[in-house]
């Protein structure tokens, strides 16, 4: 079934004079445009957008959509991204006019239902994390990291004024961390210092001790870490960090493994972010939106961004008057639409259901690990949390088959590929996260495909994928001579 139209660009489909929308005639008294718009600001022509009819647009984007893999259509074990099922009920609810058509500057009186929802969500996130106060403002996980680091900076500035202790300039991150950790540290004005991992994948305490000092503001830990392992030293790590007066930050990317099982606040974290688009099933939308709410210990609460939602009597209010707050990190309230879905998710599961999410996520990951470990090496042991990292290094040395080759061939078998080449500490890494919303049959089929692929000829794999809308693209050409927009001459 070929479809030529879908591969053409909107701009190539354009035909002068075609229209996709017709606006009503003006119902206010007619005036000449030049009366209304100062000549020096007026454009001579409207912008040169393509001209299309509505059916053109519908066919174009519908056909484009069929060139994507997605959670709705495929198993998507993209490690670290928690590609779980996005429930349809949450979509219908979030689209209710009473939730979707609210303007950010409406009066609080006209928002009591929404503010109640957001207030309760703040409380639920505190309970799940074992921390005391929440900000829902950050727009994504990395934004949450940055916000928390700014909160830490403000906290330490305040303390420096009171105690005269020198400025804390450093943020420590493990070498296996997400790239966002050191990047957030840099944006927040800190020096990012890398702490090594031990060969078995945990924080190297000796290296941490050597790098921790009174200039250290924060140590950022991902636990379970990016290898899918829970770092049992976390309490000791917290103790070491606190001993130096620093704060422990938890990157919540892997919360799907420990919901209701263990709480970051209980094992020593002072602040953390959630990724509701991962853990609480917000649709990923081709790369976003996300949200990045943070929770913190009580002593950090005064520094959280404004506003936060409070309850005064039986009324819900937005609190702006918070003199120690770092200010704003985003316009308006935050990514409310994502937060509404997170709320729906938490209300759907309740305490037992939430724990069961983690249990099933961990069961699925361990089952898959057990199915593949005899054929594909898993350098960090037989057990994992919600995800594990396999390595194709041996197979590459023996047969010339890389993690990329395997990933590409999986696409032919109808599975999205795992995350490859991350974390950077594992050679030929393949990070596999099945999530809890898959059944045994899917995991069996995926494991079978993986095993079959390992028996295929290296040539078949080097040329894979064979059945997708395109074969491997030339990324060197794209980066060497970037063409990042269509232009009429091209």
């Amino acid at each position: 079934m070929r479809n030529q139209q879908a591969t053409q660009l909107l701009f190539e489909l354009s035909k002068p004079g075609r229209r996709g929308a017709k606006l009503p005639a003006s119902d206010v008294p007619a005036r000449s445009l030049s009366d209304l718009l100062p000549a020096e600001h007026a454009a001579a022509f409207p912008p040169p957008l393509p001209e299309l009819a509505e059916p053109d647009v519908v066919r174009h984007f519908t056909n484009l959509s069929t060139k994507n893999m997605s959670v709705d259509t495929h198993f998507y074990p993209l490690g670290s991204c928690t590609m779980k099922y996005n429930s349809k009920r949450n979509e219908r609810i979030a689209a209710l006019p009473g939730l979707a058509n609210l303007h950010p500057y409406q009066s609080e009186d006209s928002l009591q239902g929404l503010l109640q929802l957001l207030y309760e969500l703040q409380g639920m996130l505190c309970e799940i994390s074992g921390l005391d106060a929440a900000s829902l403002q950050p727009a994504a996980g990395a934004h949450g990291e940055l916000t928390a680091l700014m909160v830490a900076a403000a906290y330490f500035r305040d303390r420096a004024q009171q105690t005269g202790e020198p400025r804390r300039t450093k943020v420590l991150t493990p070498d296996s961390s997400h790239g966002t950790n050191p990047a957030s540290a840099a944006v927040a004005g800190f020096e990012a210092v890398t702490v090594r991992s031990t060969p078995d994948g945990f924080v190297d305490l000796a290296d941490l001790r050597a790098k921790l000092d009174r200039q250290t503001a924060v140590f950022m830990i991902t636990n379970p870490n990016t290898l899918g392992l829970f770092d049992r030293q976390v309490r000791e790590i917290a103790h070491l960090v606190h001993e130096q007066g620093g704060l422990l930050y938890l990157d919540g990317a892997n919360m799907n493994a420990i919901l209701g099982v263990a709480r970051p606040g209980d094992f020593g974290a002072d602040m953390m972010h959630f990724n509701p688009h991962k853990t609480f099933s917000g649709p990923h939308g081709g790369g976003g939106p996300g949200a990045g709410p943070i929770t913190v210990r009580a002593m950090l609460e005064p520094y959280l961004p404004s506003p936060v939602v409070t309850k005064v009597g039986d009324r819900y209010r937005l609190a702006f008057d918070r003199p120690k707050s770092i200010g704003r990190v985003r316009s308006f309230f935050g990514n409310t639409g994502v937060l509404v879905r997170a709320y729906c998710y938490l209300r759907t599961h309740g305490p037992d259901g939430l724990r069961r999410v983690s249990e099933q996520a961990v069961l699925n990951a361990n089952y898959l690990l057990a199915k593949v470990k005899d054929r594909l090496s898993v350098p960090h042991g037989d057990r994992c949390m919600h995800e594990f990292v396999a390595s194709a290094a041996k197979i590459k040395a023996q047969r010339g088959i890389s993690a990329m080759d395997i990933a590409k061939r999986l696409l032919d078998y109808g599975f999205h590929a795992p995350t490859v080449y991350f974390p950077l500490t594992v050679k030929e890494a393949m990070m596999i996260e099945p999530t809890e919303t898959e059944g045994k049959e899917t995991l069996d089929a995926f494991a079978d495909a993986l095993v079959r692929i390992l028996d295929e000829s290296p040539e078949t794999l080097h040329d894979a994928p064979h059945t997708t809308p395109i074969s491997r693209p030339d990324e060197v050409r794209a980066a060497r001579t970037p063409v990042v927009r269509w232009s009429p001459s091209a």
Binding site: Y421, E475, V476, A479, R480
Partner: protein
């Protein structure tokens, strides 16, 4: 093969020191080993002529599709010339890394850092270790 008449930095830059008009001029480039390890090069940023650099300081960048590497000045001095055509013809780095693929010339103002650089044999040993 790493030419025996050059000096090498741990960070994979090569250096050729020549006397010219009473000054010591270092020609600096990237070794064949490093170029190969980076694979498909897509972009490089040269230092500005006139910049004062300290030995060990990052003074340029080279990128492949999925990796980026800093270029470190092997010596202390002033950048007096750069191979300005190189970013447009990155394949030169693959074809002739120790010749036409040179990156910059630095007039050395303090030659103490030269003693930190390796000879070809020591550098080859380092490469052999890194390859494992």
């Amino acid at each position: 093969m790493n030419p025996p008449n050059l000096l090498y930095a741990k960070t994979h830059e090569w250096t050729r020191v020549e006397e010219s008009g009473g000054a010591k001029i270092a020609t600096v480039g990237i070794t064949a080993f490093a170029v190969e390890a980076l694979t498909d090069l897509v972009f490089m940023e040269l230092p500005k002529v006139g910049r004062q650099v300290k030995a060990g300081e990052a003074f340029g960048e080279i990128e492949s599709v999925k990796a980026v590497s800093d270029l470190y000045a092997p010596v202390t001095g002033e950048v007096i010339e750069v191979n300005s055509g190189l970013p447009e013809k990155l394949e030169t780095l693959n074809a002739d890394p120790f010749g036409a693929g040179w990156v910059a010339k630095i007039r050395i103002t303090d030659d103490s850092a030269l003693s930190n650089l390796m000879n070809a044999a020591a550098y080859e040993k380092q490469c052999a270790e890194e390859a494992h």
